[in-house]
Symmetry: D3
Subunit: 233 residues, 6 copies
């Protein structure tokens, strides 16, 4: 069982960037957490929009089999300072994450840049930090891919959970999501793919330790409750 | 069980570039093959040097738990033409390789460049092609690492098998091999690492299919004869 | 009226890389020529396959409104030497080309690399050299795009003309062609796009010189025979 | 008629980076606007220096045939936050710009970096964003050029309008301006050029729609008042 | 005698990045200054930790033969704004520096990024700005090296002066320092090296002017008080 | 006294790329050798053109204070194979070169690419290999510069020695040579510069050993016959 943390600046960023990969993690029995840095502001007098976005994000996380954490920052004000770094550090610590997914650093949205930079700082001791692409990402030369053929419809479902957000944003176009997955899939010589540019990625070649036999003898093929701890990277 | 092919231009190139990673593959029960493109010329009248190099390379392959294939080309004459591509294609076909390791393309040695180019062509339909560094490699910006702390002494042993080669080459310095492993290890936030720049690398997140229970109940921790088929990438 | 030359290593390379852009050129009244370096070998005893490929390529060129030139080289044997450079030089001279489209230089197919290199040499005095992507292209970071929404179905028709070729090649997948056009279109903030990485691209901002009035007064909207000479780049 | 917006951090930045290109746009009948983010502070008690700089910038804009807009920020304090993005968004909206010129993102001056980043964000839905070079620009690999042979003396005249600024800055050297234009011109295989690195650049190959004939029959060669609407990119 | 300024964000950053090179400068009779931007906060009520760190940094500077300057900023709060630029500008002015060493710009620590950016701005008129690597540096492709074989133990001694800092930081590992020096040394075809990526580096090929003969006739081999003014770059 | 080798594919390539730097080396008393790979073919029946080019190249070398070596290859036929590597290896051995200047590797002329690649191979054990720009060079991001203000007219004189060559080549334009020197000089914050991209460059910071005093007491300022051995890099 891997411990996975995906960080995004706004509601729906994580789903767009690596939603199908998170579904693949969930299907493999991994512990998946999403940290959404803005959009879920707390406090007295939350207006309806915030409440709505929070509910949508919660539903999207449920769709992906992921736990949801909020960063508590405000849209369009994120800076990569020590406070932002600390938010990501706490999420890494709390989830004991082994692998972190986050925005690519070269992005025209200032919040995306700030979240990427702060996450690189917070994850400075981790061996696996992978960057995903957003519609506003600028340079992006991915070398690492995940086959998401089986999870693409689930990704679209998670995006549909963000009904209000998708309506607002002219840049989230479902057909472009599918097209990019097919484009990267062709690059990766598979069907559909999500694409990643790693800052660093340690691959673990060791076979998984065998579980106790009596546990295994009752195992279904993809046992959620007692997953085979597979050394995937 | 993964099927792994490592391609190098000359005897000892593969060991220098990814020898410890091949040991990690062997330890995981993978089927490892080395294709050495030059240095093992066949024919009547093989002189003693060729025979000696072939024996050394065979011993090094044995040390790594790898099968050895020869490309049959001559040192310093390799070109990335259709004939060279065909040699690598045959090795990929014969081994049914899923992952290929090869020189980085930007290298000051013409044979290294040619072997990298020919292998990229031969592996055009494979989803996992990773480039290793040689002493003559020029630009190299690795993002993908394998923890080789447990396999570094084995790598040095494989290099020592090339006694005549190592004496000849001023560029193979064992202390630099260890230093680079530590340098890349620090980059990867682990102990010692071999470093790779992927052309493309598809990670497989699915859990391994469970073997039949009665087979497992007798399994040792790392069963060589009946390896757990682990989905590592 | 612009004079356009598109160079490709094999039948269907040009159509895959920039077929829709050539259609846009043709629709604008430009003089479009395709130079296919291999696959149309002349001589006594042409076998049926060559004759068939030549007919298919001729039909594809007709579909794109382009003149067809053959380089006369043999598949998988192209090298970027003086003879190959001379073939492209002659095509540039004969067509008086102002803009050249050709493979991206970093490609795993040796013929593609060789054709890109030879064309860069032959076009050394031209101010507009743009590289297109092939399925075997490696690094590719396009910055320049052409809106091909109106021409995508024409591109697919041109590809279908290569019936024998498409059957042979596992790497030409029509749905991936459409997906990449949509992917690049999203990058370019338009619908569907072909993507280019320029070696150099001079944009001409001057308005077109006005044609004589009596000629214009009879002009249809897109007069092929007396096209408005538009300064497009 | 194209609608062009050029954004610079300080008075004279736009002229230095793309002044001759703006002259070429003006000569082609395009609507050209300059947005200068700092240096024109409003308010009671404007001191003489500010008034002088504003007059100089106004004169330089007039020389280029451009409309002038001020961003209202203060020199050396620009940050790429939401407020700065909003200033550029308003200018894009007000001018309905189709193409935006701005500083290259990698620049040692913090204001230049901030203006480039904020403009990339504000122009996130535009298909044409081109970066120009400043004396403080760091990495810069231009691929796109405009022939400015006919406009170089006009550019120098616009720079001379900034008499106080040029005296202040040791980094604005007219001979270096001319030398760089010739250097880039040689790269572009033309005489003198301004050089651009596009974030994205969509080229429009369609011929311009023909104007009504009776208008044309009276047209001078470059009719400013009724310019031929040329599809330049 | 060269005038050298090395800038670092925190105590021990300069020593880690270019400590041995500074020792080589000192040995050559150059005037070496270190500017440490944070960690030496002044004021009433300095706590023991600050006092301790300041003493350690002073001792490390003494070990390197360098003068120590403090930037007076606070750890984890550095931004590349005009105030930070001014601190570095003052140090450049006061030392009349000809060459500046500083962090590489792409670094996961926000203070490192900010110090690199501010130094590039402050040194905008200098002809020699070289970037060193820190454990948190991300992309780094050095081309310029200094042979530090004779100075590596001195570098380790300077690092040991930071006893409290080294204990705190899991990322400063002496064996990794030595390994990286050997790794870069192999890249540079020498023994041990520190590696630099220059923003710009002007090499001075002129021979040193000869000192007056009667001065020379009493000269020791490395005369500190009347050093031979050697044109090193 | 440094031992310098500059390698070029054709007559005048070295002068164009680094002629002024070679003059600076000569002025500093260094031993400068030029290796021109093609254009000086030997043998019975040399035609007048070859004889003329050889005389011109000899005169240009004399102008630069350099020894001339010929590679003996034929224009437009250079390949980076073992034979070409051996030619450069012999020149390195014979001159005992410490620093090598050569074409940049990414160049549209096949001979330039081949000479760059072969020289990188031949110089694989040297610590100083610097690439210069030619008119046909493609990507080029120099970081290292030599101030050539005092040597630019000498460079132009050396180029004028190639009267027949310069007439032939439309790409050698003296005003562009001067403009590029000024452009790079502005980048380097000096007057006029030649620009270099190093593959690797080791800087030697040690002061020069003092010559014996009685030799010095007779020394002129720039003693050619007994040059001060200056440790320049």
């Amino acid at each position: 069982m891997r411990r996975v943390l995906a960080v995004g600046a706004h509601p729906d960023d994580v789903e767009l960037g690596c939603g199908a990969t998170l579904l693949a993690h969930s299907a493999a029995g991994d512990a998946v957490t999403m940290l959404v840095m803005t959009g879920g502001e707390n406090g007295p007098g939350d207006d309806a929009a915030v409440v709505g976005r929070r509910a949508e994000q919660q539903e999207a996380a449920r769709t992906l089999g992921a736990r949801l954490m909020w960063g508590g920052l405000r849209d369009c004000t994120v800076t990569p300072d020590a406070a932002t770094v600390a938010i990501v550090e706490r999420a890494i610590e709390e989830t004991d994450a082994e692998v972190v997914y986050v925005h690519a650093p070269d992005d025209s949205h200032q919040d995306h840049r700030a979240v990427a930079a702060a996450t690189l700082s917070a994850a400075r001791r981790l061996s696996r930090v992978l960057h995903y692409q957003s519609p506003s990402t600028l340079t992006f030369s991915p070398t690492t891919f995940v086959d998401v053929t089986a999870f693409l419809s689930g990704k679209l479902a998670a995006l549909r959970a963000h009904a209000s957000q998708v309506e607002m944003s002219a840049m989230v176009e479902p057909d472009a999501v599918v097209a990019s997955a097919r484009h990267w899939g062709a690059q990766a010589r598979i069907g559909y793919a999500e694409a990643f540019a790693p800052t660093r990625m340690v691959i673990d070649l060791a076979p998984a330790p065998l579980p106790p036999v009596d546990e295994l003898s009752h195992a279904s093929r993809r046992p959620r409750s007692a997953p085979l701890s597979v050394a995937l990277y």
